[in-house]
């Protein structure tokens, strides 16, 4: 059943610079994770996406959140109840 999602996660991992990816439902439960994406952070990622959406409640589409650290960039986006986080290496 989740083969399509698993394939999509693997394809995302093949993109240059991507070191991790994770996918969560709107309850913050993990649907899939690869690489540095830790399953336990799914709840936090979903919560971040929900909070960011509250900044512009009138906007129909959810924002893309970018978190930058010294050695990594995390991109978070929600769509149709699914939140995806992509971990990219800065180097």
């Amino acid at each position: 059943m989740e083969k399509a999602l698993e394939r999509q996660l693997d394809e995302t991992m093949n993109n240059p610079g991507v070191v991790g990816v994770l996918c969560a439902d709107k309850q913050g439960l993990c649907l899939g994770a690869r690489g540095t994406g830790e399953r336990q952070t799914c709840g936090l990622i979903t919560s971040l996406a929900e909070t960011a959406q509250k900044l512009h409640p009138d906007e129909s589409s959810s924002p893309v959140i970018s978190i930058e650290t010294d050695n990594m960039q995390i991109l978070i986006k929600s769509k149709e109840g699914i939140t995806t986080a992509v971990y990219k290496s800065s180097t």
Partner: protein, 129 residues
């Protein structure tokens, strides 16, 4: 640190944890029979979910779930129309979290890490008795 002081500190810490997750109404730590060891709750928590009769069911359920051949049961999530209850198996202790059904379940599960340090000391006490 004296016992009342220790309890006060613990209460403060658990109240802090409760404030981290929106809609988390209660955190209860019990032994395997459902006897409360420590409890923090808000007025929104359903009274029935705080009773030992409710809390003791997880002890039995986790024992049965561990026999399914999928190794030891770690946690159980029960969702109801207005509430959700997350149980964590930290035997000999059991952590029960009562929250709104709209609460982010992943955030509740992520609290497990924060519980581990506190439970380490509590477990020693329960083990002796």
């Amino acid at each position: 640190m004296s016992m009342p002081e220790c309890r006060k500190e613990l209460k403060k810490y658990f109240n802090h944890l409760m404030s981290l997750v929106e809609g988390l109404y209660a955190i209860i730590i019990t032994d395997r029979d459902g006897v409360p060891v420590f409890k923090v709750s808000t007025e929104n928590a359903p009274e029935l979910a705080l009773r030992p009769t409710f809390l003791s069911t997880f002890g039995m359920a986790t024992d049965q779930a561990s026999k399914l051949g999928l190794s030891k049961n770690k946690s159980m999530i029960s969702t109801y129309s207005a509430f959700q209850v997350v149980h964590l198996n930290k035997l000999p202790l059991i952590v029960t979290m009562v929250a709104s059904s709209k609460t982010n379940t992943g955030m509740l599960l992520a609290l497990e890490r924060d519980f581990d340090n506190v439970l380490k000391d509590m477990r020693a006490v329960v083990d002796i008795s």
